[in-house]
Symmetry: C2
Subunit: 329 residues, 2 copies
Amino acid sequence: MSITIKDIAQIAGVSYSTVSKALNNSPLVKKDTKDKIIAIAKEMGYEPNFAAQRLVSKRTKLVGLIWPTIERVVLATLVTKISDEIRKTPYSMILSVDPIEASLETFRKFQVDGIILFEEEGDRMIETHPIPLLSYGVSGKTFSPFPIIDANHGQAMHDAIQYLYELGHRKIAYIGDISSKDPMQLAKYNGFIQAAKKYKLAVDPHYLVNTEGLDWYNGYSAAKKLISHSPLPTAVVGGSYDISSGIIRGLKENQLDIPKDISIISYDNIPQMANLEIPLTAIGVPVDQLAKEIVHTMIQQIEEQDSEPTVKKLQPLLHERASCTSVKA
Amino acid sequence: MSITIKDIAQIAGVSYSTVSKALNNSPLVKKDTKDKIIAIAKEMGYEPNFAAQRLVSKRTKLVGLIWPTIERVVLATLVTKISDEIRKTPYSMILSVDPIEASLETFRKFQVDGIILFEEEGDRMIETHPIPLLSYGVSGKTFSPFPIIDANHGQAMHDAIQYLYELGHRKIAYIGDISSKDPMQLAKYNGFIQAAKKYKLAVDPHYLVNTEGLDWYNGYSAAKKLISHSPLPTAVVGGSYDISSGIIRGLKENQLDIPKDISIISYDNIPQMANLEIPLTAIGVPVDQLAKEIVHTMIQQIEEQDSEPTVKKLQPLLHERASCTSVKA
DNA sequence: TTGAAAGCGCTACCAT
DNA sequence: ATGGTAGCGCTTTCAA
């Protein structure tokens, strides 16, 4: 049997309701008493009984996160960061690896206060769901019944191209996955196309390489395919962390020096970019900020029931490393 | 406010303690009443209040699982299967992606009844931990303060070699990661060496290729390295799912036909083996069985406090697909 | 500023 | 077979 506020009350010589207040930092308790009680609690190794707390205050202070099915380093990083972020708040996070329906079932059982999910899956059955929801993804429609955190992939691609353009690049290739209906992938691709148009780049069709997958190897093969045609581009934009790491290998295996022969910039602004064979300049909303925004918005949504579900487009950031160089016009 | 047993009691015209019994399928309630109550409960969409249940019955029926840091398809599959398995029991699982210390903190807060973790990390501080623990890993020492589920990697390698031997293979290579101190990787490597000795195979040093990593690409490079020397082996044992998928690519890129030119068998008995470019014959404890065993043992450990923490070595199974062929001596 | 007491939803025991 | 009730540990009035 673990120790309860009654035990503390006994030792401290106060009533247990006072202990409760003290532990919750209520202003209704004299500072002396409060300090004493807190000290005793700590000394006794008191841990509040979660179930009891939840029972009485209808909030569970629990957020559920549905683990995305796709295995990606970036997503794993994001989930971890979200977890870190939540740990700084009074909330706790529980994860479910089950398919969405089963996850919702579990979360309902735990009576979580809010649910975070990744991309679209939300759309379907969830409209009716009473639990505050938040989705990380692409805000296709400008209206949504629940808030969406959007990493603004299109903007990111624009910024990448602008950056390369200003370095003098005119022949820029895009290597990414556009085989699926994944809105994030499409948003990147479309963003590239649009920005290329804006900067009047002549995009040779073979500068657009569809990796048809998100794996390392897909980027690797795509890179080889890209350099099998001439003229070679002077820069390439990689669609994701994994893809770009494959591109590096593909280029290196063909004795192409990065960035001397070819510059490369990658989508996904995660710290791991620095640990690749060649640290890559990257574009995207920094994963920490993404996590912060997701958690913050989720909690706000929970605590202010009336707050409008907003679609929040975040600002991508360009993180320079040594993988791009300027080129004479 | 969601509905409670009192609401049900009112509708059913019985006391709420009767409802509680009925819902818990107590034999103390007449079948008629029970059926009626259950029907009403279902109709009203009743969900028991988790917190209240937990508060009164000291068990939480919660199992915590610490998500392994290493990103592997196989582990993700295992975690998912464990989740599926737990969903069949009265228990629920919560996942933590935090580092072990923080995870334990969280789990203590949730007052989980048991904790599952992957490999050794348990050893350290956990000795003192009062919560039943179970580890999936390698049972180096035969004694352990908590139960260990061991996939018996050594035996698996033995079985693989026996299989190949009986097909007539005498030149067998091993491609796997032996650069880290990961006991699972070492167990496989050592198992290979031992079995090779047993079958009196002359293991040319270049038949042992250290991938120095667990990624696809590591297997790919290793395969290329392997075939750069002659004589080529007639069969190769891949150390893991990812590694083997890299091996396939490496061999194919060099116009080597599987299994005509070279047979391949991979560790990791997961269904995904069938979806590779070339469906691979695989050896290992089937992931479903692993999950079943882990969950079953965990629950037993929780419910029978006195049960001895056993080290359970599981029996690997060889799943034949079309990647191995016999060879004339 | 502190204490007493109600009650969250449920299980389990005792009474009927 | 069913009902009444205590109490799990806590928060939150309300009273002192």
